[in-house]
Symmetry: C2
Subunit: 333 residues, 2 copies
């Protein structure tokens, strides 16, 4: 059967067309021994120390510089696992597709997922496909839920202690700025692309070096502002951050000035913040820099009230870095 | 903070409003020790024999006789686990919410999820919330992904053998007929409700009785027609089914006649088909009937070509029960 060029309602009906549709679009591409058993549920050899996380992706536009909704879905879910010290192993993948969506676009999206999975040697082991009538969804939404083996237990946003060093794995705000620019059809002087990437390789390197990781979090929706505020609350600490040390690309700065955003509030999709004891700060920075030269030591934790992140400006003044408020950017991820 | 009565984009922005929104809507209700750790990923004590499954739910209308999208999401995912002999243990839960959705409706949906989870003692351990602008989705879509411990390994749609008995756990087509009636604002003489329910208790009872289960499948989208055809293909067998033994409620028959559907093609959300060796047929029937008096022995497997289900009518004629074709009912689950 030649597949229609656009998705039809029958492709989600549970009948013959759906069967063929998912065979051609998903099974062929995600091909692995567990998935191809095609039972109601996949059986997995997991360990007693398994991490699980879920994310739905609604990003608009679906394709952007540096990735698309598919690569984002794999990276986002793998990164949540990596942030608790877990190697991403198995993912589920569920598509909600609007009737009339181009089959070619779906193929591109799934191909990107396959590429992204390969960077971390993870597998899609089960899936689901729903097709909704035109107007009931915007093209395609993807849920990826992942499980992985925890290689370094005890990493927790509750574990940050006074004196710990705070580092960021690269320059911030690129995903948010990039989506914003795409939506506003902004022409930029130089090409800027999303930081969308799977973070397991760098986390794995940190674990291999026996660095005592206290906490890690990828700075997605709400940017590093949200992460810093959550950490202060969870660990009952203050975070002293040096504004001049927080790496922000000039293009991101430009987009922020144009639209009145703070780079700290912008979403990242392949950049994380990490807290380590002071004695591991330099070693951590070295590992981070070997993956991204823009990685930086941006501050430290200290006990004190209120439990909020405090931004020290280059001019000696200081201000609270507030939890982002308001609408920010809908459909950023 | 008092929550707004309708969901706003800021509730999905990753900032303070989202934090409060998910605390009040989800954490309060799904409350358990693993979820409340609130890390990027939940850490679970799983076994080496764990099953995993995923489903996204887009059912329309969101509320129907016998359930709503929330109870459906929990039942659907738990049932996929039960069908491979796994006790549902941990679920992820991801909401895509349209801006402007009533907060009250979301509360009802989550409350139903909590009730349904209690019937099987399963927990929601991680979640995600996205809010999309008005018109980008229809109110609410839910993804639930579940993991559970396999108590009886080896259940597989590839394992059916010639001579095996085929049984159904209750009368068929009620979910499909019920959604159809709700959409067409059909007034029925008697109340008819969806069969939406968690199937683990009955599956657990079968396992406790040491019944040698060859295959099980809940007959969701595509109804028993799809399951029977899939089994024939997977196990390379013919299925001989006695039409008069397949239980169909009169109301479902009526809806089918009115709209030109076959009850075999209609979706079920708490009814499954099971294949067991002939010597376990009566014992299986007894267990099924103790949960639902409409359970029935509907046929048997035999070797032979073509590998298709064959329906024997009460008048002695026979016909193939075909794989459902065409649009069927979009947004049935």
């Amino acid at each position: 059967m030649t597949l229609a060029k656009k998705v039809q309602l029958s492709h989600g009906g549970g009948g013959l067309e759906m069967n063929q549709f998912i065979q051609k679009l998903f099974f062929k591409r995600f091909n692995n021994e567990i998935l191809s058993r095609d039972e109601d549920a996949a059986t997995l050899p997991l360990s007693a120390n398994t991490a699980m996380t879920t994310d739905s992706f609604t990003v608009s536009p679906h394709f952007f510089a540096g990735g698309n909704i598919g690569s984002l879905a794999v990276a986002g879910t793998c990164n949540d696992l990596a942030m608790v010290g877990a190697k991403p192993e198995y993912l589920s993948c569920s598509f909600i597709i609007e009737e009339g969506t181009d089959f070619k676009e779906l193929e591109q999206i799934v191909d990107s997922m396959v590429e992204e999975l390969a960077t971390v040697d993870a597998k899609v082991v089960c899936g689901d496909t729903k097709v909704v009538p035109k107007g009931s969804a915007d093209k395609v939404f993807i849920n990826t839920t992942g499980v992985g083996r925890v290689l370094q237990p005890g990493i927790s946003s509750r574990g940050i202690q006074s004196g710990d060093a705070i580092l960021v794995s690269g320059d911030i705000g690129r995903h948010g700025a990039c989506i914003l620019a795409a939506r506003e059809s902004l022409r930029l002087e130089h090409e800027m692309s999303s930081d969308c990437a799977v973070l397991w390789p760098v986390v794995d390197a940190l674990i291999q070096q026996n660095i005592d990781i206290r906490a890690m979090r990828d700075a997605t929706r709400g940017g590093i502002s949200a992460v810093m505020n959550e950490w202060c609350q969870s660990s009952n600490i203050q975070l002293m951050l040096q504004e001049e040390h927080i790496p922000v690309d000039d293009m991101v700065k430009g987009v922020c000035e144009l639209f009145g955003f703070e780079p700290y509030d912008l979403a990242n999709e392949g950049t994380f913040v990490i807290a380590v004891p002071q004695e591991f700060a330099q070693q951590t920075l070295n590992v981070l820099k070997s993956f991204n030269p823009n990685a930086a030591l941006i501050g430290h934790a200290q006990s004190g009230e209120p439990c909020k992140p405090i931004l020290h400006t280059p001019w000696g003044s200081r201000r609270y870095l507030d939890f982002p408020l308001g609408e920010l950017l809908p459909r950023i991820c």
